[in-house]
Symmetry: C4
Subunit: 219 residues, 4 copies
């Protein structure tokens, strides 16, 4: 292949990898931005200050930060994964659309948490459980996409070493287990479930920050 060829090569399904990434990036950019439109100016009740009314909305801010971190991490991992992809087939397209569908859902349970966390009791438990469940299914969708892409050498530039694939699958397994645990915990101590989401996002962020520009490889 001529390295000066301007666009990526078309694939059987007529969708290039570039287009798939651009579309996915568009959806992710919109979802991560829409999280903030849940933040609305509060109603200020008679005899209360705007400052206290804003403060009372803290579950909304917490939910915003948690969801922003989760989607930011998904974006980072999505790109890291597609860096390895060479061609796109039909199943990959569908698995990617499936993943995007769950991602676009995330603002909904985020809003449910923002609205019901402070009530405590059943609403708080249900809200956090639904939030955790959507993140769990999103992680399942990501795992499915990863598994399909790496299941043989057709779709990638070079299949990663077997040990790396196994290690990645173990990491995915641990991630899924953590989200599953969060669903269960939500019914007992909702805040503990949210803490798991915070820790998992922070772990990925820390992991990400450990990459340095010096190991950029052959460019």
């Amino acid at each position: 292949m001529d390295p000066t060829a301007p666009p990526a090569a078309p694939n059987a399904a007529g969708i290039t990898k570039n287009r798939l990434e651009a579309f996915s990036d568009g959806v992710l950019a919109i979802v991560i931005t829409l999280l903030a439109i849940e933040l609305r100016p509060p109603e200020v009740e008679e005899g209360h200050s705007l400052a206290s009314a804003l403060w009372d909305q803290w579950p909304s801010y917490l939910a915003f930060v948690l969801a922003f971190a989760q989607i930011g991490v998904i974006w980072l991992n999505h790109h890291r994964l597609f860096q390895q992809v060479r061609v796109v087939d039909g199943k990959l397209l569908l698995l990617n659309l499936n993943l995007l569908m769950w991602i676009t859902l995330i603002p909904f349970p985020t809003a449910v948490v923002a609205e019901h966390l402070r009530e405590g009791g059943e609403p708080a438990r249900t809200a956090v459980a639904v939030f955790s469940a959507v993140l769990f299914v999103t992680a399942v969708g990501f795992t499915a996409l990863y598994t399909w892409i790496t299941h043989d050498a057709r779709l990638v530039h070079a299949l990663p070493p077997r040990a790396d694939v196994v290690a990645a699958r173990i990491r995915f397994g641990i991630g899924l287990a953590a989200y599953g645990l969060a669903i269960g915990l939500a019914f007992v101590v909702p805040y503990a479930a949210l803490a798991i989401h915070a820790v998992s996002a922070a772990y990925y962020a820390f992991d990400q920050a450990s990459f340095t520009a010096s190991d950029e490889g052959a460019s």
Copy 2:
């Protein structure tokens, strides 16, 4: 044409194919993401649980999934079609803007279905009929775009074999007939009309998944 020329060649109307695709992708990414902002935290009535209130919103989830699948399929087909396009003329631009206009409408009838499906009776019938009608007109817009692009060899890299064009037009005809049938059915059994939309999306998904990376052609 020099393969090292950096951007796509400008056309008479001053819009390159790349720009047209990027703009269309942007609109499609936004529309598919906006579908989810119809999903709102439910009002929980005195003595009811949040869980049951969330469950009661199932028509919203169903409408979301159906509309997401339809727009996902439109995105796949839009790209498959533009893969063949070489230059863009004025009529193509207008036919594409017309298609985008109907696509941006889709969240509106989706919200109407989500709000009125459970009421049954006239509201459910009307809601599903309007949803089906917007999908029907969208399909008409897509067919018009396809017909213009393939009506002679000016706009495409290579005109597909006559048999393929005929086969595609038959498929479009069947698709239009299915959407038309759904409009009619909506007035009798709204759920059956929705089932037609689910089946049609699943058909396209299955069809799509049958493409394999091995037939990627010369890249």
Copy 3:
């Protein structure tokens, strides 16, 4: 300049033409899509059908189509103009941001028209006048951008022939006069003002459709 140089050449202000176009396209794609979120499922009053409630929203549909056509035309003209641009300077960046600001405003007067047109009287007149005024100022912003870009040869690939620039400025002048007329007419016959907007969009569409792929020039 080496034609194989991968990205567009950076300019003094550090913004390439490609980025400016991508950002403008993003804003235009979002604005044109947001027009449709003004379309909401109607409240159905006791004893009325959903069908009649949907029908009663016709001013919303009319406003949507008019605004979609106007923004579609702006997108077409924006690209046609930037096709000629070679480098970007600071004033061009500011004039483009100014244009984008007025464009992002368009959904607001569109919603005002949708809500108040049927009331007639002062609300209808004011709504249509505000809609016309925002389109007028948008056209002023576009004219300013065009005038700056073509005022000498620094920014463009090749200055268009003097006669073309004069012809374009006359067309802009006629356009501005039409929008100005619409503002005035809005205070007398609001529907006549809307008709001017419909005619102007149709004129541009017709004008656009007259370009053919055969005069694509040297590519």
Copy 4:
């Protein structure tokens, strides 16, 4: 590096500079467009005209223009900065995501100002202080990103001359001081704080406009 290599070189974290810019541009385009959806058709009270109701919304228009100018300036500076970036490391990705998070927040305090400025008293002071504080933290995020990128030569094409970096840091310091001053002033004279934001945006705009296409450098 071969100048004909089509995409930017991948980095360790699997995210190219192009992708990072495209994602950031997407988020900025959406945020700047969402500012306008705060502008809603006003409720017209019995005996009042639509014109006066629209006029009474002037704090919304003021907040829209101020926020649009701030985000426009951020976009200009973001691109000017990334023009110098050669490779992307993990910390840069996180610092950029942090900046984007604060930027996506901006429509929220903008809406708070729009809703509470006219009330005067505590609500106006708090609203403007929160608006100023979010802009302050955004500026901190931008400064952190700039400082990381220019702290040694690994990430950039060429480290700017030391004097330029020092000058830029002084400018950032003055900017932060101005935003900090605005937070303080908000508690005394809210309108003076808004004036500072207007002046700072105008300063950047004027500064930007001073770049001319003639010093575009070697392209």
